[in-house]
Amino acid sequence: MNKQSAMNAYIKEIGGWVAGQLEACTRCGLCASACHFYQVTDDPEYAPVWKVSLLGQAYQQRFTFLGRLRQALGLGRPITDEALEKWSKLVFEGCTVCNKCAMVCPMGIQLGPLIHDVRAGLTAAGLVPADLHAATVKQDAIGSPLGVTDDAWQERIDWIAEEWEVDIPKDKKGVDTLVVFSSIEIMKFPENLVAVAKIMAKASESWTVSSKGREVVNFAFFEGDRELTKKFLNRVFGAARELGVKRIMISECGHAYDAFRWTAGNIMEVPKGIEVTHVVRVVYDFWKAGRIRLKKGAYDDGTITFHDSCKIQRRGGHIKEPRELLAWLAPRAFKEMSPAREQSLCCGGGGGVISIKEADALRLAVFGMKVEQMNKIGAQAVCMVCSNCRLQFTEGVAHYKSGIQVRGLTDMVFKAME
């Protein structure tokens, strides 16, 4: 039964976009050495091309003449339940869908989205790792994958507003910007909310948070469950429609930005005239327009570096904004890692990997490469614009007992405001 559901999902996923790229693969194997999971483990099964091969097999068997012929003659290699289980571990625990492999592929194949499709089939077959699925179920039922209930959320927002003496408008109609945070930020990085509130106030931007669309994270998107993804997206879009905002600002969250900005429009009806943007862009625009003023050289001691996130930089294109900000805030201290920008090395925690307990050892092993990268340039601090990365960095830095300070860029900007 599993097999059939997975196969059905693949047959539905495969269109010209997928097939054109599957056909282009020459089996050169270069993608393997782009993958941090392969680099750390040296296990060839982590090669992106191998992860995608499940989708490739479905395509060969069901969409090509020879494949169908072989299938009709009973010669095809069937996709077994064991294979599905194995691939579930490979693509959920051993892949952050960071798409770095697409950067080295000589044919330019978008391996990340293809692996996302592999995940979709496994999800249809009910083979999502338990921890990840539990979080999804929680998000579906409670509204937050961390289990933050509505009351808890209200309380937390009030507490943050009180503690830091900031104004966080809730469910305010007719404002320009709806800001959506992730539970990670609300529970673990409250300074992000504070930073946003302060910056918004300084820039005299009318904004609000919404109790209905309070969660930016989308665990169904990690799973590749399209219907549930839409449902979660709709909570925020619905709130935005209700509040009559002009734009939705995604907080420091990578995959949410991908889901809202790049995916939603193609899988569902999105409200017209509502722009989706990321906090780093908004802050940058405020600064460029003179709505906020930043102290030049505010962080100019030691060495600070910037971590490019897969969904915001590599697949979001917000590469120059954080750099210009850092060039202002830390003109001498800012130093690039290598490789950086769209070629950057993934943190290892994205794509839902961080929520899977079984993947912890692998995830932290992968982070070793990041530590090495930072140590090479002698970084004392690292900043980023993705809370998921930041969580991984915080845990990873502690695990490797490295003294590197992990910061969010929005928070840094707020603290450097004049």
């Binding site: 089996r27 090669a47 191998w50 978008q110 294109g317 590469i319």
Partner: protein
């Protein structure tokens, strides 16, 4: 059966058949993929897709190992990069810019072009053969390649290797008589033409799919390639 008749067969009717099979096969593959359904991208772009695509092709042609950020992958895959790069260079020089092959194109297309001096194409052909051997050894030893290489990929190698060696042997009169080698060369070429639509050598066509998609994705998201 004498070699002259064999040669006539593989230069004549069978070559014609192979060309037609190639044309039909490639059209089949192309149409099958094109008609599989393409959903329109309804998401507003942040950058220009066209610029992204143009940059994607420029990047695809620049020899990657010389760009610092891929050095990490270059170091682990020197054989793939060097072997693959040299093979494609040799392929271009030999198939397009050697005199005998240009004359083939001329007879098919009706026009010719200047060719490279014989010693150049000759050495490049030798380089191509060596590159193929390097790639084979790489494929047999690299753990990832061992895992992902199935029978059709090994067949690819043999089918690409044969025209190269028979062609080289023929120009240097190695081993057999000229017309025997010529027959074998044409036989290998015909088999290659028939095999291309059946295997992954067709990547020269789908390259344009994946590179365009890559460029459009990068352009749309305003990522500098």
């Amino acid at each position: 059966m004498d070699w002259t008749s064999i040669l006539h067969f593989f230069r004549g009717p069978f070559f014609t058949f192979s060309l037609l099979f190639f044309a039909a096969g490639m059209t089949y593959r192309l149409i099958r993929v094109l008609l599989l359904g393409w959903s329109r991208d309804k998401v507003p772009s942040r950058g220009s897709k066209a610029v992204g695509v143009a940059k994607s092709y420029l990047k695809g042609v620049i020899i990657l190992p010389f760009i610092p950020w891929v050095k990490r992958t270059f170091r682990g895959n020197a054989m793939t990069y060097i072997g693959g790069g040299l093979f494609h260079l040799a392929l271009l020089a030999v198939v397009v810019f050697s005199t005998p092959h240009m004359m083939v194109w001329k007879s098919l297309l009706g026009f010719g072009w200047p060719t490279l001096p014989f010693p150049v194409t000759d050495w490049l052909a030798a380089v191509g053969i060596v590159a193929l051997v390097i790639l084979l050894i790489n494929r047999m030893t690299h753990p990832v390649l061992k895992l992902i290489t199935k029978a059709p990929i090994w067949i690819n190698w043999v089918i690409v290797f044969l025209p190269f060696v028979t062609g080289y042997a023929m120009t240097h009169h190695l081993g057999l008589r000229y017309e025997s080698l010529y027959s074998l060369h044409m036989m290998a070429v015909d088999v290659l033409l028939i095999w291309i639509p059946l295997g992954r050598i067709s990547h020269f066509l789908f390259y344009f799919f994946s590179r365009t998609i890559h460029g459009a994705q990068a352009g749309k998201r305003a990522v500098n390639p």
